[in-house]
């Protein structure tokens, strides 16, 4: 984990310093003295290895340094301001994916080739096919503009979260519903399901205890990265609904060549993703006894 993270840090650091142009290249050139002063302030004239070790030490203290573009604001502050909004929307989206996607998949599998299955599959196929910004625009248009049921932007009221969360979750909800369906259909064909029936178990035991537990293994595998993805938010969706999340700062920092912000947010995301994957691995051991720490047997 630590090694992965170090790699990410080094890579972003190198890439940032490899791109031509700097934070202070602008259309209107700065006066040489000013630029010199700024470069000195942010230690941009130090040798590269020096900058790198300084940066690493900063990260060890969980300090991503100052933003180049917002004077007096640290990257930590930007993250602290933006992340809660992003995170809240992300958690809601994950919950939506789990508690709507999985049940829909189950219904579709149990009612295979019946109308319930058809409805779920059509919705899921559409959901997977539509990019999130299109979905975001469509639901924004209908529910906020046409019907006026929900606010168009901002999160001053909880209802402001509904549309962005749906837009965020849409694709993954459809994806998880499809995956749950196909996985459960596959499990229902397994020999041990016939054994379960031959033992005289009740239908719900057969379906949930024997079927679903096995069917969820692949679903949980994708849920980890999905959760990480959703919790990191979507820059596009945040832009469309004007959510004051972390994505806004990230997009701005890129166009501004705001090195420290870009690196800070990237590294923060990477760390977050690694932690999420680790949590999923723990879950995995819990649900699939064939997997043990350090070794896997077939």
């Amino acid at each position: 984990m630590v090694i992965t993270l170090l790699l990410v840090i080094t890579l972003t650091f190198c890439m940032m310093h490899a791109v031509p142009g700097g934070p202070f290249t602008a259309e209107k050139a700065l006066q040489p003295e000013v630029e010199k002063a700024l470069r000195a302030k942010y230690h941009l004239d130090d040798p590269l290895w020096r900058q790198y070790t300084d940066y690493l030490l900063g990260i060890l203290r969980l300090d991503f340094g100052p933003s180049f573009k917002y004077p007096g604001v640290t990257v930590n502050e930007l993250i602290r301001k933006g992340f809660p909004v992003t995170f809240k929307a992300g958690v809601l989206a994950v919950l939506l994916v789990v508690f709507a996607g999985i049940p829909l998949g189950i219904v579709a599998a149990v009612k295979q080739n019946k109308w319930q299955d058809a409805v779920v599959m059509v919705m899921a196929t559409v959901g997977v096919a539509i990019p999130s910004f299109v979905l975001a625009t469509i639901i924004l248009y209908f529910f906020a503009l046409k019907l006026g049921w929900l606010p168009t932007f901002g999160v001053t009221h909880w209802s402001g979260y509904i549309l962005p969360v749906v837009a965020l979750a849409g694709f993954w909800l459809a994806f998880v519903a499809r995956l749950t369906r196909s996985s459960l259909l596959d499990v229902l064909q397994q020999d041990y399901m016939v054994t379960a029936r031959s033992k005289g178990l009740y239908q719900h035991q057969i379906l949930l205890k024997h079927g679903l537990k096995n069917a969820l293994i692949p679903v949980i595998t994708v849920l980890g990265p999905v959760a990480a993805n959703l919790l990191c938010g979507s820059f596009v969706v945040e832009q469309i609904f004007a959510l004051p999340g972390i994505g806004k700062y990230f997009v701005q920092s890129i166009s501004n060549r705001d090195y420290t912000t870009i690196m800070g947010i990237t590294i923060f995301y990477a760390a977050f993703l690694i932690v999420m994957v680790f949590i999923v691995d723990l879950f995995y051991v819990f649900i699939d006894p064939r997997i043990k720490f350090g070794k896997s047997t077939g």
């Binding site: 020999d191 041990y192 029936r197 031959s198 033992k199 005289g200 035991q205 096995n214 649900i287 699939d288």
Partner: protein
């Protein structure tokens, strides 16, 4: 032997697939007495599994039993609804399957898999169920059963898993245990152990056992009666001695010729039956075996044979045994070529 436990009468089951109707079982009759061990033998695809899955109503769609009765203790199982069948399965009637590697649930401990059967039928406490599960593992001779209860199927070898399956099937003291090729997927030495275990269980617990196999040799010492199936029909039924020493059906001769024999001195060539089993989508109009039969007559192609019986409890589905069949005695002489 006890009274009739299971009586199957004119059982007919088909799979309605896109290609058409696959006639897997075509009018099968047989009975099993309480406490008896019966073998059902036949090549792959002859309808053995489907017959017994039909009896337990465990067929998956598109399989459907379209005619017949299956009287278990006098009650027709085929008239029962899913709720009534559920209560019987695993309690009075249980089944074990061919592949012990895939028949146990990989994500539940074997203790849980044994105990859940007990608890669904017997409504006993977890503790009592656990106690019983240990007893059952002892019964099937799994060492240190107490610890093994917490193990998962992947921690067991194939033979041990099959023992677990047997323990599971025995948990509620069934009257009838159906073992569908319980040893086919295992090594030869383990095969013999599993069959022996089933034999001991049948003796000690007085459980009737139907042992399905495609290898006559495996069951020779375990069963008292053998039913030979082919093309969804029963070709021959007789006591195990008659099947081995006085078989009368050419298909049984073929099966015997393909069994390795320890009692034969010279290294015998195994000769599998030439040709392949019939396509049950379009089964032959006459005897299902006639395309592969060296003794086929004209009538065999046209008309399904009748059963001919030479003694009570034995019958053979073959036109050659008709009292008026040509060269009947020469035909019967041929059986000597197949026994020792």
């Amino acid at each position: 032997m006890g009274a009739t436990l299971l009586e199957v009468d004119n059982l007919t089951t088909s799979f309605f697939t896109h290609q058409g109707e696959v006639q897997a079982v075509r009018g099968v009759n047989f009975r099993v007495n309480a406490g008896e061990m019966v073998g059902i033998v036949g090549e792959s695809g002859s309808g053995k599994s489907v017959t017994l899955l039909s009896v337990l109503q465990l067929l998956k769609s598109p399989g459907k039993t379209i005619a017949g009765r299956a009287l278990f203790k006098g009650e027709n199982l085929l008239d029962k609804n899913e709720r009534q069948m559920r209560a019987l399965r695993g309690d009075c009637l249980s089944m074990i399957f061919q592949d012990p590697m895939t028949s146990l649930n990989p994500t539940l401990t074997i203790g849980e898999q044994i105990m859940e059967t007990l608890r669904v039928h017997r409504r006993i406490s977890r503790k009592a169920a656990r106690h019983r599960a240990v007893e059952l593992l002892e019964l099937v001779r799994i060492p240190s059963p107490d610890q093994r209860l917490n193990a998962y199927p992947h921690e067991f070898s194939g033979g041990m898993r099959q023992r677990v399956m047997i323990a599971m099937a025995l948990s509620c003291d069934p009257d009838l245990l159906i073992a569908d090729e319980p040893s086919t997927a295992l090594d030869v030495t383990i095969q013999a152990q599993i069959i022996l275990l089933l034999k001991q269980i049948q003796r000690e617990l007085n459980t009737a056992v139907i042992l399905i196999t495609h290898d006559l040799g495996v069951i020779a010492e375990a069963v008292s009666r053998v039913i030979v199936m082919y093309g969804g029909m029963i070709m021959e039924e007789a006591s195990v001695e008659d099947i081995f020493y006085r078989p009368r059906h050419p298909y049984t001769w073929g099966l015997l010729a393909s069994v390795p024999r320890v009692d034969v001195e010279e290294k015998q060539r195994l000769s599998p039956i030439a040709g392949s089993p019939p396509d049950m989508l379009n089964p032959p109009a006459g005897c299902p075996f006639f395309p592969r039969c060296r003794f086929a007559l004209q009538i065999c192609r046209l008309k399904i044979p009748a059963y001919f019986s030479s003694a009570p409890g034995r019958r053979s589905l073959c036109w050659r045994l008709h009292p008026g069949a040509p060269d009947r005695n020469r035909f019967l002489e041929r059986q000597k070529n197949y026994v020792n």
